[in-house]
Structure formats: structure tokens, C-alpha cells
């Protein structure tokens, strides 16, 4: 095969690598992959932090993330080289949003904002808030300048790239006429207000009052008015984070499982990152199956299993069926991989074998990291 192999160690030891973003659809093992990569970076001597979004309970415990306090906590007892540390944190969306509000406005105004029902809903359940806050947190982590590498796990979004769109969506929202209309009552009053917005507001107000009732319009207007002072800050930060992702020090890793749906999503990711000019390091194919006894084909195994069953050797027959199933699965996965690489020949790929059980300790994460790094080593060996 002519496809290039993703060399994770080359990426992690490159001093220019500062941010690694793991993205992919839900259920592909993104969080585990991000944690394994972060652990490996730390054990190679780099000061590392991993920002996770929603880790499995036991993985969170393994990382010492029992306290959800929105700041990085050091993960104890790493091995190997001196100097490397792993810190981990879990994103608290609401708290991050609150912090942003507090940085951009007075304590008094912040209290008003916190009390507004729109803010409460927006900071906890607005589609895109989690994505935006993940990017916000990333920006904060970068700003502290305490990290050699920041590994980011992305939220399981409706659309997998919501986190790329969140800043623009926010900007579009803030620049929209809608906001100016809603802001008008806060800026002017009485007649002047209607002059500013004119007929369109009259119509808007008529619809909103009819559909939602007047109390809502008032709350909304108060909310937008209170946020007014922060808009500039919001927009700048959103843009700054987006630009940060485009910088050469950032590497995107698309994580996928060897399933058609997940790979379709991965394919979409790759195209989208490319068209946004985001630096893609490669594809990580998680949970791959393989066999060390490929010489014994599925067909021969199944034929033998059938004969053995007739003679009552159910154990040997069962073992052969397990082997046949594994070969078939591995074959299917390799076909899916080949289909992906023929569509995206420029994308480097690395595989992580399926683990017999779920990963929930540092030893397990270390094993995943080793497996990931073994791709490049095997490739080098093959070329020699």
C-alpha cells in the first residue's frame, strides 16, 4: 500500500506541536484516544494537559477527575522520563460561560446576566454552547503558557464539526440585525426606539408578542442588553480561538471506528478541515481487528469446523469459527480503510487494535499509546 502512516511519536516529540485536537463522531473512542495520546506525550517528557468533555466514569477516575472543578489537575504516578507531567480536566460548560461573563463585565452586571432565564438556558442547553466553551477553555489554556502540549477531546455534536462553526455562528448572531433590534430598547427609549428600528421591529414585535407573549420579549431584550458590553470581547475571542486552530502548531486527528457511518463522518471531517485550512495530522482508526494466523483462511476454517462438529469436536470447531469470524471482520475493516484512503490518499492513517476489555486505567491508556506508536515502527520495519 502506498498510503502514508501516521507517526504519533514524531508528532508528539516535535517541539512545534502545541495543540492536538481529536475529533470524530460519537462512540468511536475519542476520549480514550485523546487521553492515551496525552499520557504518551507526558511520558515523553512534555508538560501536557488533556481537556476532556464527557469521559466514561472509570476513565475519569483513572485520570483523577472525580472533582469536576474546571481546572487542570495533575495525574499522579507516571513512569519514564523526567520533566513530563500529565494534567487532566473535564469541561464544565456552565462554569466556563460564567467565567467569560465575569471577565468581560462588572460584578453587578454579571449578577443580572446570571439571573436572566435566557442566560440560564443558553449557558446550559443552547446547541453549540458546549462547543464554544470547549474552544473558550482551549484559548484559556493556551493563554496560561504553562503547557507544551494541549490535547483536546471535542464534544459529541449533532454535526461533528459544530466546534468549528460555533465561533462563526456566534459572530453571525452578534452581527445580525436581530440583535440590533433587540438592543435598541436598551440603547434608546420611547419614540427614538421606534425610529431606530422602524417598521421591521413593529412587525417583529407583533409576531413575538403573539407567539411568545410580552414577558419573553422583555426578558430577551434585557438579556441582550446586559450582554451588550461583552459582545466585542466575545467576538474577538471566538475569532482568536478559530485562528489559533489554523496555526501550524495545531494538529487535528480525526478518530473513527471501522464502521461505514463513522468513516463517512470522518470523510466529511477531513474535507471540512481541508476547506477551512485546518492542519490535519491524520486519521486514527480505532478498534481494528487483525489476526496473526492469516494463512489459515476463513473458508478453510469454516469447512473444517463443519466436519469437526459432525465428529463431536465442538471445542476445536468453535475455536475455528472464532478465527473465521475474526478474519472476516478484519477483511471488512481493511476494505473500509482502503475505501477511505482511496478517497483521501493524502491522509496519514494509524490503527489501534480492539482491546479485549474497556480501558479504564493508566496501564490501559499506555497500551493504547504503544499500539498507536507501533504503526510507524511497523512501517519502518517493513521498508527496511
Amino acid at each position: 500500500m502506498t498510503t502514508s502512516i501516521l507517526d504519533i511519536d514524531a508528532l508528539l516529540t516535535d517541539p512545534d506541536t502545541r495543540i492536538i485536537v481529536c475529533c470524530g463522531s460519537g462512540g468511536v473512542g475519542k476520549t480514550t484516544t485523546a487521553a492515551a495520546i496525552a499520557l504518551r506525550a507526558a511520558e515523553q517528557g512534555r508538560q501536557t494537559v488533556v481537556l476532556t468533555i464527557d469521559p466514561a466514569r472509570r476513565l475519569a477516575q483513572a485520570l483523577g477527575l472525580s472533582a469536576l472543578d474546571n481546572t487542570p489537575r495533575r495525574v499522579g504516578s507516571l513512569g519514564r522520563k523526567e520533566g513530563g507531567e500529565l494534567h487532566a480536566m473535564m469541561l464544565d460548560m456552565k462554569r466556563t460561560f460564567d467565567e467569560v461573563v465575569l471577565t468581560h463585565t462588572t460584578a453587578e452586571k454579571a449578577e443580572q446576566i446570571f439571573a436572566n432565564p435566557f442566560y440560564q438556558a443558553m449557558s446550559t442547553s443552547f446547541a453549540g454552547t458546549q462547543e464554544y466553551m470547549a474552544m473558550e477553555k482551549l484559548g484559556q489554556l493556551v493563554a496560561t503558557q504553562s503547557w507544551d502540549i494541549i490535547v483536546v477531546d471535542t464534544p459529541p455534536s449533532r454535526s461533528a464539526l459544530d466546534f468549528l462553526d460555533a465561533p462563526q455562528r456566534l459572530t453571525r448572531f452578534l452581527d445580525g440585525r436581530m440583535i440590533r433590534i433587540l438592543l435598541a430598547p436598551a440603547k434608546a427609549s420611547g419614540r427614538a426606539y421606534f425610529k431606530v428600528v422602524g417598521a421591521s421591529f413593529a412587525m417583529f414585535s407583533r409576531v413575538v408578542t403573539k407567539v411568545l407573549g410580552t414577558a419573553l420579549l422583555h426578558d430577551l431584550s434585557a438579556f441582550v442588553g446586559a450582554l451588550d458590553t461583552m459582545f466585542g470581547g466575545f467576538r474577538e475571542r471566538a475569532q482568536a480561538t478559530y485562528d489559533l486552530l489554523k496555526r501550524p502548531g495545531t494538529a487535528f486527528l480525526v478518530v473513527s471506528a471501522p464502521e461505514p457511518d463513522a468513516l463517512r463522518e470522518a470523510s466529511y471531517f477531513v474535507s471540512r478541515l481541508d476547506s477551512d485550512g485546518m492542519p490535519l495530522a491524520g486519521l486514527v482508526l480505532n478498534r481494528m481487528h487483525s489476526t496473526a494466523a492469516a494463512s489459515l483462511t476463513a473458508e478453510r476454517s469454516l469447512a473444517a469446523a463443519e466436519t469437526l462438529e459432525e465428529t463431536g469436536s465442538t471445542l476445536a470447531a468453535g475455536v475455528l469459527r472464532v478465527h473465521a469470524e475474526r478474519i472476516q471482520l478484519a477483511g471488512r475493516e481493511q476494505r473500509l480503510r482502503a475505501r477511505f484512503t482511496s478517497a483521501h490518499p493524502q491522509v496519514a492513517v494509524a490503527e489501534i487494535p480492539a482491546q479485549a476489555s474497556d480501558v479504564h486505567d493508566l496501564a490501559g491508556l499506555r497500551r493504547v499509546g504503544n499500539d498507536l506508536a507501533a504503526n510507524a515502527a511497523a512501517n519502518t520495519a517493513a521498508q527496511v
Binding site: R57, P156, S295, A304, L315, G318, V319, H323
Partner: protein, 337 residues
């Protein structure tokens, strides 16, 4: 047969779960963690519920066009169209609900405001209402689902069953619990009364919320969490649908190396030690996975909800497999009342 292992598995030292019957259910909501095959199961369920001359509607709300991909058709417009024929003369319709279109339809239906709609769109108000205004989007989507579920023509229900391919487990409860979301924002007015009607349907016996899972730690944990959330918000849980189950290929007990070696020899297969070692390792992995799956299945049983099992499809999902899965659902008691 791929399905043969089911009974043997269910009796495995586990108390049988209740039969999946929802005599009054019209709306079937399907949720599950990403990667569990939620959309596939929703489609198979729509087929099963249309079996025998019924008509079902399969709805998606996440803008992913998952139904079109599954049935290999062009992207669905905001329009109900027939996408499949079910066994014994049934029909499956499909609809991809777009929040913007739903809002315009809503404005037209309740306020005769279609024209205002396009002006609002220019203003950015539609964008605002459907993406930024908290809860609005979910009110619109669930409102449309309710409308389709309760729609009648000449005194007859248009659909015998509506299947909603819902948001994943992490978002399903807030999505369905629209009233609570909107209550803080609108205390009166049509949106409030609309969402009250929606929640009344969602909390009634006319709704069944099914959670799709696979036998792995995280999806099972999310299933258990979701069951608790649904209970806390008085939303009626239906079945736990265990997807991608595999038959046990090995007899119980220890794997005897000599027996396997003898079997290979008898079959004139290469019995060199590396092949043998590999086979034994693969068999041990298989047993380990089965052990974990038994543990996860036990946890699901403890929920006390009906448990439905669907087989793993090795060759990838197409229309044929959807029918196969639908048949499996039907065999396990899933059918329209």
C-alpha cells in the same frame, strides 16, 4: 440462523424481562449512545410497526439525513414521502424535520403568518429562534412530531405509528422535557399551551421511549443513566434494545490446547505452534468479551424493562438487513396495536 442464539442467552441465569407490549403507543422514540446503531434500529422499528397493512412514519430531527443514507435515497425534503414497503402490505413514510421549515409552518398554521415568515428570515429572526433561543428548536421539533402522531383524516389516524429517530442519550431527556425548558421563558401564550400539549402526549401511554445499546460498558452505563432520567421526568420508557449481539461460538469451559491441536490435525490444517497459539489467543479474547457482555447484559436486565435483542450484521446494513432486523423485532413482540 443468526437469530438462533437468542433464547438460549436470555434464559442464562437471568430473570425473564417483560414482553415488549405497549398497547396504546403511537409514538416510539428511539435514542441511544452514538455508535450503537440508533438510526438503523429506528428504521427497522418503523418497518416492524408497518407490517401487516399498517402505515408508519419514520422521523429524524438532527439534520443528518441518516434515513436517506440508510435507505439509499436522495436527501429527504421537509415532506412526508413513502420510502419502503413493509411485509404484508405495510407502508413506511419518512420525514426529516427542519426546524426553520417547522417554524414557518407553525406560524402559518396558528397565526396565518406565512408572509411575515420570509421577512423574519431576512431579519435573522428565524435563525435566532431556531438556533439561539433556548428550547425553541426542541419545541418546534417535538411539536411537529406530535402533530404527525395525532393527525387524523376522515376520523382515522393517518399513521398507525410514528417512530422518532431522536437525539442521542445525552440529549434525549432535555429534548423531550420541553415544558420544563420553556416554562421559565414563557409563562403564558400559545408556545406555552403548545408545549403543554406536547408534554402531555410524551408523558402518556401513547409514547414509548426505547434506548438502543450495545453490550459495552459506556453505552450500558448511559442506558442506565437515561432510564433514571426518564423516570425522574415521568417520561415513559419502552424497551432496551440490545443491538449487535453475537452468538456464542464456543462451548462453555476451559479451552483445552490439546483438544484444539487434535482437531486441527484431524482436519489436516497446519498445526504449527504459532497458528495454534494465535487461535487459542483469539478464542480467549472471544471468551473474555463474552464474559464482559454477560456482565453488561445482567445490568440491563436489572432495569426491569423489556429487553429486545438484535443480531450483529457482519456485511453492513442495507435494505435487506433492515427487513431482517424488522423481522427480529416482530418475532419478539413488536407490532402496531
Amino acid at each position: 440462523m443468526a437469530w438462533g442464539g437468542h433464547e438460549a442467552r436470555s434464559t442464562l441465569d437471568l430473570v425473564p424481562t417483560p414482553r415488549p407490549t405497549w398497547p396504546d403507543a403511537r409514538l416510539h422514540v428511539v435514542t441511544g449512545k452514538g455508535g450503537t446503531g440508533k438510526t438503523t434500529v429506528a428504521a427497522a422499528l418503523a418497518l416492524a410497526l408497518a407490517t401487516g397493512g399498517r402505515r408508519s412514519l419514520l422521523v429524524e430531527v438532527e439534520g443528518r439525513q441518516g434515513i436517506a443514507q440508510l435507505f439509499d435515497t436522495p436527501p429527504l425534503p421537509y415532506e412526508e414521502r413513502r420510502i419502503a414497503i413493509a411485509p404484508e402490505g405495510g407502508e413506511v413514510y419518512a420525514l426529516a424535520i427542519d426546524p426553520e421549515e417547522a417554524l414557518l409552518e407553525y406560524l402559518e398554521m396558528f397565526y396565518n403568518l406565512r408572509r411575515a415568515g420570509s421577512a423574519l428570515r431576512r431579519l435573522g429572526a428565524i435563525d435566532f429562534a431556531t438556533t439561539i433561543a433556548p428550547g425553541m428548536r426542541d419545541v418546534l421539533l417535538t411539536g411537529k412530531v406530535k402533530e404527525a402522531t395525532t393527525r387524523t383524516e376522515d376520523g382515522q389516524r393517518v399513521y398507525d405509528a410514528v417512530v422518532l429517530d431522536g437525539p442521542p442519550t445525552g440529549r434525549i431527556t432535555p429534548f423531550l422535557n420541553v415544558t420544563a425548558e420553556v416554562a421559565g421563558l414563557t409563562k403564558v401564550g400559545p408556545i406555552k399551551s403548545q408545549s403543554d400539549k406536547v408534554i402531555a402526549l410524551l408523558r402518556s401511554a401513547q409514547t414509548a421511549i426505547h434506548v438502543v445499546t450495545i453490550l459495552e460498558e459506556m453505552p450500558v452505563q448511559e442506558t442506565i443513566d437515561t432510564a433514571a432520567e426518564l423516570r425522574a421526568t415521568a417520561l415513559p420508557m419502552g424497551a432496551v434494545i440490545v443491538n449487535m449481539t453475537r452468538e456464542s461460538l464456543l462451548p462453555a469451559g476451559k479451552i483445552d490446547r490439546d483438544k484444539v491441536a487434535a482437531g486441527l490435525k484431524a482436519s489436516r490444517l497446519p498445526d504449527d505452534p504459532t497458528v495454534l497459539d494465535t487461535l487459542l489467543r483469539e478464542a480467549a479474547d472471544h471468551q473474555e468479551r463474552e464474559r464482559l457482555q454477560r456482565r453488561e447484559r445482567k445490568q440491563l436486565h436489572a432495569l426491569g424493562q423489556p429487553l429486545i435483542e438484535l443480531p450483529f450484521i457482519t456485511h453492513g446494513v442495507d435494505l435487506g438487513t433492515l427487513h431482517e432486523l424488522s423481522g427480529a423485532l416482530h418475532e419478539q413482540g413488536v407490532m402496531a396495536p
